[in-house]
Symmetry: C2
Subunit: 331 residues, 2 copies
């Protein structure tokens, strides 16, 4: 049987992951049985939530096994098919092992048609990050025209979608990101205000940027950003809690939201959510968002790292902020 390369979790990271937590090995690719297809990976999506699956412990997804492959979103090309309706050259989107060649049941994947939209968009703005943004903004936080939103980690795949979708719907948008280049990009994307958290205390910057307070907070960062948002929140503000990238690699307890009592004073609703809870509502998402993309109302940035062997470093780059927009590996 043919041999292919696979990237495995070599050890559980403590704190910030390093290259040593990953290993490359060669494995055999199985036979393509009836109903299956053989595929070659074309793109791998690396996302912050994967960090949680590298820990051994209860989370909303089971942990990856030591010595086993990492599983993440991706796009693969069919190279041999024994499944009806699938032919060589078809592109499949879904969850793939980090393995160059593999045999899968195509029923578990979505076949990408030629919509005039780049396939990688389905890993970002039309994939999990886009649906995360849409669901958090409109289903969880119930954002309405005329309101003011603060989105942290706004240059990331989710954050940049949140900010632009909020602009389409008539909100005033304040975003935070790390560094001058990202802040400049947020302004290009139409954000009303962009804060550089590396340039100083985020709480002070937010209170200055939102003199009338914020009605919505979309949290990708946690930590000091959440504390700042609690200070700036108006009465009846809604917080969509999506992630806490500032805390994923902490080996000690985070500072914690010491001002959570603001939630009582200002009747704030904080709602944690996970995109998979909204997968049954993805049709409404596509119907609304695909036209926005075709009309140029939603732009999406991609940071593309080339080479299968560089997948771990692309993942690690998420935590040092080396991406603008969706981080993708191209094989």
């Amino acid at each position: 049987m043919p041999i292919t390369r696979q990237i495995t979790l070599a050890s559980r990271p403590i704190g910030l992951p390093t290259d040593e937590n990953f290993a490359m090995k060669e494995v055999e690719v199985g036979e393509v049985a009836t109903g299956q297809v053989g595929v070659e990976l074309v793109h791998i999506s690396v996302d912050p939530y994967l960090r949680g699956r590298m820990n051994d412990g209860k989370s909303y997804v089971p942990p990856f096994a030591i010595g086993g492959p990492i599983l993440s979103g991706g796009i693969a090309r069919v190279v041999s098919s024994r499944a009806e309706g699938f032919a060589e050259g078809d592109l499949l989107m879904g969850m793939f092992d980090w393995q160059e060649s593999q045999v899968v049941n195509p029923a578990n994947f979505r076949k990408l048609d030629s919509t005039g939209i780049s396939p990688t968009a389905y890993l970002g703005i039309l994939g999990m990050p886009g649906l995360t943004a849409y669901a958090g903004l409109f289903y969880v936080a119930e954002a309405k025209s005329g309101e003011t939103i603060f989105v942290s980690g706004a240059a990331g795949a989710v954050g940049s979608a949140v900010g632009q979708m909020a602009k389409v719907k008539g909100l005033t948008v304040i975003g935070s990101a790390g560094g001058e280049a990202k802040v400049a990009r947020l302004k290009e994307l139409g954000f009303d205000k962009a804060l550089d958290y590396r340039a100083g205390d985020i709480k002070g910057q937010l209170l200055d940027a939102a003199p009338n307070g914020i009605d919505i907070y979309f949290d990708n960062v946690g930590g000091d950003h959440l504390i700042a948002a609690l200070e700036a929140a108006n009465d009846f503000a809604r917080f969509a809690l999506c992630g806490s990238i500032s805390e994923y690699n902490l080996t000690e307890r985070s500072q914690g939201a010491w001002n959570l009592f603001r939630a009582v004073q200002r009747r704030i609703r904080l709602q944690g959510f996970i995109v998979s809870d909204f997968s049954d509502r993805s049709r409404g998402f596509y119907e609304e968002v695909v036209p926005w993309i075709k009309e140029g109302k939603l732009k999406y940035d991609e940071t593309v790292v080339h080479g299968f062997e560089n997948t771990p470093s692309a993942f690690l780059g998420l935590f040092s902020g080396s991406n603008t927009g969706k981080m993708i590996v191209a094989l």
Copy 2:
């Protein structure tokens, strides 16, 4: 004009209030004008939220003035009336200055009729604490039969109402309180489990008491109790954030909910609320709760401190846990 006694805020407390923060002075009682009544205070309600009004700063209610009277819930008896529909001997409930005799516009008060229920019940189970419990439980947390609830500060006026109302509606109820006597009282009130936070780590106790997790958390305490509830929460748990008595007197930052990321993992909704936002729904509350009291399904404890001059110490007692149930001053 006649002279009466008034208790004022002498200085803003720093941390835990003391007797020195209050002063007694003599003031003149005004004339009873047309449309007004003269009253004598019969009962004063002291409540934890008053602590917030003693600070100078933005909260959901404006701060008390230095040298001015404290205003709180109370019951007064009409001693002279120039208002139609009000006669000597009528009992009025509402917000009164801490002042033995005063002149008020009765339109701002509720006249208590003889329902067979003790007038002081209208300061507790049928007053602000009772509506707080009811609104938090059913409107905010959307508690349903078969679910498990954890209520902190469960021996207080709000907490004991929460636990009993939850039992009437078919929930499994776990409460926390400080000390053996209060824990014993919770069991008498029908709580399924009662935890003594003075006897050890509340997180460990809660995880033991709720092996299948909690669906609802009613927070009166904040701090370590909120952290414990986040650890014990099931998917889609709802937290009604009502108060944080453990934090009101802190002069430094509290530890903070370092594990708030659980809200994402378990899709927890945390909702701060204030009872006054639900005052337009008090009719439904009375219709459901008055029969529960008459049928003996809801018991309410009162800790009565005698003497107007002891009002500050009754208030201070709230923070050392010297009350079981509603703390009331009888004049």
